[in-house]
Every structure is written in C-alpha cells, then in structure tokens.
Symmetry: C2
Subunit: 217 residues, 2 copies
Amino acid sequence: MTGRRRWSTEEILDTAAQLLRSGDAESFSVRKLAAALGTDSSSLYRHFRNKTELLRAVADRILLSAMDGYRPEGDWKQRVTALALRVREAFGQQPQLAAVWGRYGSGGAGSRLVMEELLQALRLSGLPDEEIPARYHRLVILIVALIASEAGIGTISPEEYEQGMEQFRVAVLGADPERFPALAHFARDIRPLGADRRAAFDELIAAQLARIESQLP
Amino acid sequence: MTGRRRWSTEEILDTAAQLLRSGDAESFSVRKLAAALGTDSSSLYRHFRNKTELLRAVADRILLSAMDGYRPEGDWKQRVTALALRVREAFGQQPQLAAVWGRYGSGGAGSRLVMEELLQALRLSGLPDEEIPARYHRLVILIVALIASEAGIGTISPEEYEQGMEQFRVAVLGADPERFPALAHFARDIRPLGADRRAAFDELIAAQLARIESQLP
DNA sequence: ACCTGAACACCGTTCAAGT
DNA sequence: ACCTGAACACCGTTCAAGT
C-alpha cells in the first residue's frame, strides 16, 4: 500500500516473534508473516535461506530474553536448576519455538549465554575439567528434550487432545486384569503425558544433578 | 485401475508403515498413502478422522513390534532399561512416528504392553504401591522425551543439518574468551545435540533409576 | 452403501519480469 | 539493486455428485 520498502532483519524477527506470541500462533507461516509486514513472502527469502533459519533466529531471541536480568545465585546445583527453569519458562510461552529449538538448536547469541552459564556452574561442582563436557552434554540433552517434549504436547489442538485422552482412557481403564494385572491395579492413578510436567521436570533434573554429585572424586 | 475396492483399516496401516519405513519417509502424506493404495485420499477419511489418528495407530504398531518376543530378564532396573532400549530401538527406525508418539501418545494395544511391563518392573523395586504412579509417570516422561527428541534431530534434512552445524560452530568456536571464558575453554569438546545419544540415553535413565533406588524405604 | 472428483483453503520456495 | 507477481509443486480435509 505504501509502496516498496526495505525491511531490516531485525524488524522481520520482531514481527515474527509477535505473531508467534499471539493466540493463533499454532499456524505460523511465512506467508502470514509477510502479510503482517505488508509485503509478499518472496521478499523474505532475501533475509533468510528458509523458514527454519528464520525460526531458529527467533528461538535464539527467546533464549536471550530468558537470560535477561539473570544473576547466578547459590551453589552449582541451584544455578543449573535456576537456569533450566528460566529456559523452560521462556519457551513455555512460545511452544512452537521450543519445538524448533529442540530439533535444530539456535546457535546464536542467546544460546551462547546459556551454554556459558551452564558450563560455569558445572565448573563449580568440583568435577575435573576432563569430565565436564560429557556431563554438560547429557544435561543439555535432558533439558532440551524435556522442554521440547512439553511444548509439543502444549500445541495439540483441543479436538486432537480430546481424541487422545479418549484412547488413553480406553487403553488404561479398559485393561483386562487377567492380561494386564499391574495396569488394572494402578489404572486410576496413571496420568496422561502432559500432566504434572513442572514437578517431573524438577525431579528429573535433580536426579541428574544428584548423579553427578555422587560421582565426584 | 482395478475399479473400486474396499480397503480394510489393517491394509491401510500396513501400507502406511511400509511407506514410512522406506527412504523418503520424511515427506509422508495422506495423498501419497492413498496413491500407494491406488485410491484417492478422500477414501481414507472413512477409516480415520484425521492424519494424526492414522499416525497414532501406526505408532502403536511400532510399540507392538518393539514388544514382540520380549521376555523380562534380570532385576527391576535391568527390566526398565531393557524396555526403554527396545522402544528407543524400534522408533529409531521410524523417527517421524516417534515424533507423533511423543506428542500424542498411541493409546492402543502396543502402549498397553509397554505400560504393563514398566509397572510390573517398578513393582519389583520395593517401592510402596502409593509411590509407584508418580515414579512411573516421571520415567515415562523421560523416556518419551528422549526418544522423541532424538528422532526429531534424526529427521533433519542434510542441508538444514549443515546450516545448523555451521551456526553451532560459529557460536561455540567463535566465543570471545573475555565474555565467555568457560565456553572458550571447553569449545573444542562441546558436542552438537545429536551426538552420543545412545550413551546419554543410558546414563539419563540410569540416573533416574539410581534416584528411585536411593529413595527406597 | 460406498466411493470419487473436484474443490477449498492453504503451504514453502523459486524466478522471470518489472521498476 | 531491489522487489514482486505469478507460478510450481505440493498439503489436509470436505462434500456434492455419481455408481
């Protein structure tokens, strides 16, 4: 409408982040982003090689915002826990970005901040330097997998969620006690995959940190 | 070509599984499945409400095949570990089904077998019955998250993988030692998210089992 | 009663042609 | 030098019309 106009990469990322934050984020597309910018989708391919590269850049900003105002506090275990929770929290608001991050990583300024803090915390644990990269790697795998998995469940549409719960109930509550004695016995207490994620997150991280601690020289 | 023909749900699932197993599985679509069956995609909507329901049914068969020939062996920890590895192995061949499973679960005969075996193993641990559902839930979250996350990384296209590695290397190897001392120090030993998944899987499960053990009454 | 063709409302990405 | 329109090659899903 206003004629041609050059968009900076920054403006594009901002608009994308905004679009993803808004309610209908489930159906983000390059075409919708272009429409929000008042241009055609083809113009965006000057700034990004493909949709993944664009989303990775936005995911990195989530990490950046997660680290905003961060101050390390407490012992190494508290620092790792606080860091993991911050990242989880930040992606909890943007579940589809969490999925991108889980698959491709982000590889920008935000991920550098997170990596640095996690490594610094581990260095305080008393682990010898040679053992830190492997422990670091496992912690990253754990944290990323838990956050991306939770986010994936968080973007299920209500109809699909209901379909899933229906089948879950049939499988669990309808289990024949002869063939599935344990399942029948616990049926009423078995929770679906999306339940109690925060508690499970805390506990699974704590277990891994306890494991590291128990193996200190 | 042979004129009209009624497809059983079984035949559809078989063909879908076969299609997903074959090389170009990355781009599975309802239309391609219909083409493989020699019919139109619209016919399939008589058997499934939507694509997710279809894929969930196929994912359940993966669990069924994972449990094929399974015999529990060893103590409870060995049983949990063996079970988790079997499921991981089965989905390793079908990564896009792992993604569906991680998001929606399967809720069929296969998932019932897995739930039963996991609960039976936990019952042998010595945990009191009241504590079993919560521990079970955490283990499921952990196992599902790790398998789905690994599978997600496994379906990245070579070009996208290379793009990601490029940015990863820049972020890690290019870290300024002043601002990122720990990252710069460990740069050469930091691995990408997809590396050493099997070892990380084993170790993260083991940590959780050790945690349960340490909290036995 | 069952199946199908055609359509609807979308995608990501490319590239010749325009200004 | 930059942007755009139009096209390519797809999607999942619905439903009137056919047999």
